[in-house]
């Protein structure tokens, strides 16, 4: 009986926790969408499809999945030089967006969980702070 109680408590705790996290994620994504529309959309397009060979896609991008740190860094500091996304090479120059740490968190959560992208881990201020040039 005790065992069952304990399990029940654990169950409630975890589902409650994931519910809070889901809500945190959806709040962050909502703010991130506004940041995306203001800073990223012109080049990366409303649905993250980009422009082949010029602006890399964010939707279903293997780069975002493989290089999470690099992706966050490029939003924090800008990006320059050759990268390969979904098999196509890009050699662009993304200027420093000049976002606050909170805006970086939100826009990354939006990008990592939109247009077919799915991330298991929510981006946090702590993670953004920890990534240095």
């Amino acid at each position: 009986m005790n065992q069952i109680k304990r399990l029940a408590v654990l169950f409630i705790f975890f589902t409650g926790f994931s519910f809070i996290q889901d809500e945190e994620l959806s709040k962050s994504m909502a703010k991130g969408k506004d940041v995306y529309n203001d800073f990223c959309m012109v080049c990366h397009k409303p649905n993250g499809e980009g422009t082949e060979k010029i602006f890399p896609p964010l939707a279903k991008s293997d780069f975002l999945k493989k290089y999470r740190d690099e992706s966050i860094r490029s939003v924090k500091y800008g990006q320059k030089g050759k990268i390969k996304v979904n098999g196509i090479e890009y050699n662009g120059n993304m200027p420093l967006p000049g976002l606050s740490e909170e805006e970086i968190v939100d826009v990354m959560n939006y990008i990592l969980n939109s247009w077919g992208n799915k991330s298991d881990k929510i981006v946090t201020i702590r993670e953004v702070k920890s990534l240095i040039k």
Binding site: D38, F39, P46, K80, N93, L96, P97, L99
Partner: protein, 372 residues
């Protein structure tokens, strides 16, 4: 039902007109009689450039650097105003006073957070250089209010033949509020005397509440501007939304229509406006569908490039080339790519000795050499 079908048809037609991704009206010549030489290496985003009487250059980088380039050496000028570095903001254009030789004045535009509100807006400053630092700094104009919107700051600076200074400020991300309202900054081309005072014959000096520095309005985001070498008129180009970039000849007091009339659509493919013309609003001299994302512009007026004399040059950020436009009888008759696939072309200017200089993001500044 018919109505539904008509609107469906309309959308299809609009999509067919605007949704196209390839620019079918530009030519790619097989052979061009020129070569290029990298003059200033390793620049990040070189926004403005101008040539000093001694042949050296002043170059701005958007992140807030002013560089004096002389005899192959870059010297960073100190005491540059702090820029509001967010999105498209930063240190933008740099231009010399027409009588720079005698008075030493240099003009800049930059995004500034001066003022009470949070955010930034575009400012015009003049200053002199002494011992590699800016001195006698004067803010001649500051757009207001500040906003945290990260885009559409403009900006270019041009002097006309009478010594007036022109510069543009983009709509600052508030296109339903700013561009059509002459009591507000943003979406305007401004004209000032060289000391920042308002010319007595500016178009709106007698309008109550108007920003009297305004010379023309209804602009979206002007990032190219130049003086025509023969007529002395001020030519401007500006970014449209998706489609609808424009080349305009700037006339006193005129309304260039944004966002009431436009040849483009929203980024998410929805309709921004169904109107492309209206009485009281100027038609563009030329418009681009699809957008090329136009940057700096210059007319070739020297004899260094005989085939190209009189042509207009415009940089394309999006398609990464410099384009040359033939203009006959007040119309664009031919366009071709020069320097295709060269990178995001940010600026183009003609040097004092008549050569074309092209600034490319992440690369540097190239000189085009006729190799005939």
């Amino acid at each position: 039902m018919i109505r539904f079908f008509c609107s469906f048809l309309f959308i299809v037609i609009v999509k067919a007109c605007f949704g196209q991704k390839d620019d079918t009206t530009i030519n790619t010549p097989k052979k061009l009689n020129y070569s290029t030489e990298l003059i200033v290496p390793e620049l990040d985003i070189p926004w403005g450039m101008t040539f000093l009487p001694d042949g050296s250059m002043l170059i701005t980088e958007i992140k807030g650097k002013l560089i004096h380039f002389k005899d192959g050496i870059k010297t960073e000028i100190k005491q540059v105003p702090e820029v509001y570095a967010r999105g498209q903001g930063g240190l933008m254009d740099v231009e010399l006073h027409p009588d720079y030789k005698n008075n030493g004045w240099i003009y800049f535009t930059y995004s500034s957070s001066d003022g009470d509100e949070k955010g930034g807006n575009t400012a015009l400053m003049r200053a002199k250089i002494k011992d590699d630092a800016l001195i006698e700094k004067q803010i001649l104009y500051k757009g207001a209010p500040n906003t945290t919107k990260p885009y559409h700051f403009g900006s270019r600076i041009v002097f006309d033949n009478d010594g007036y200074v022109y510069f543009g400020i983009g709509d600052r991300g508030d296109h339903f509020v700013n561009p059509q309202d002459i009591t507000k900054d943003g979406g305007k081309i401004y004209r000032l005397k060289d000391d920042g005072t308002i010319p007595a014959d500016n178009p709106f000096v007698n309008e109550i509440g108007a920003k009297t520095a305004i010379y023309s309005y209804g602009h979206r985001n002007p990032q190219g501007m130049t003086k025509h070498p023969v007529t002395g008129q001020i030519w401007e180009n500006e970014h449209g939304p998706q489609g609808g970039d424009e080349i305009n000849i700037i006339q006193k007091g005129k309304n260039y229509g944004w966002p009431v009339i436009c040849y483009g659509i929203n980024y998410d493919n929805t309709i921004l406006t169904e109107k492309t013309e209206m009485p009281g609003m100027e038609q563009p001299f030329y418009y681009y569908v699809p957008s090329i994302a136009p940057s700096g512009m210059a007319f070739i007026h020297s004899d260094k490039y005989p085939d190209w004399k009189g042509s207009l040059l415009i940089g394309s950020l999006k398609f990464q080339y410099l384009e040359r436009l033939d203009i006959k009888d007040n119309k664009v008759t031919y366009r071709e790519k020069i320097m295709p696939d060269s990178g995001r072309v940010r600026n183009v200017k003609i040097s004092n000795d008549g050569y074309i200089y092209v600034a490319i993001e992440g690369k540097g500044i190239y000189k085009i050499l006729p190799s005939i």
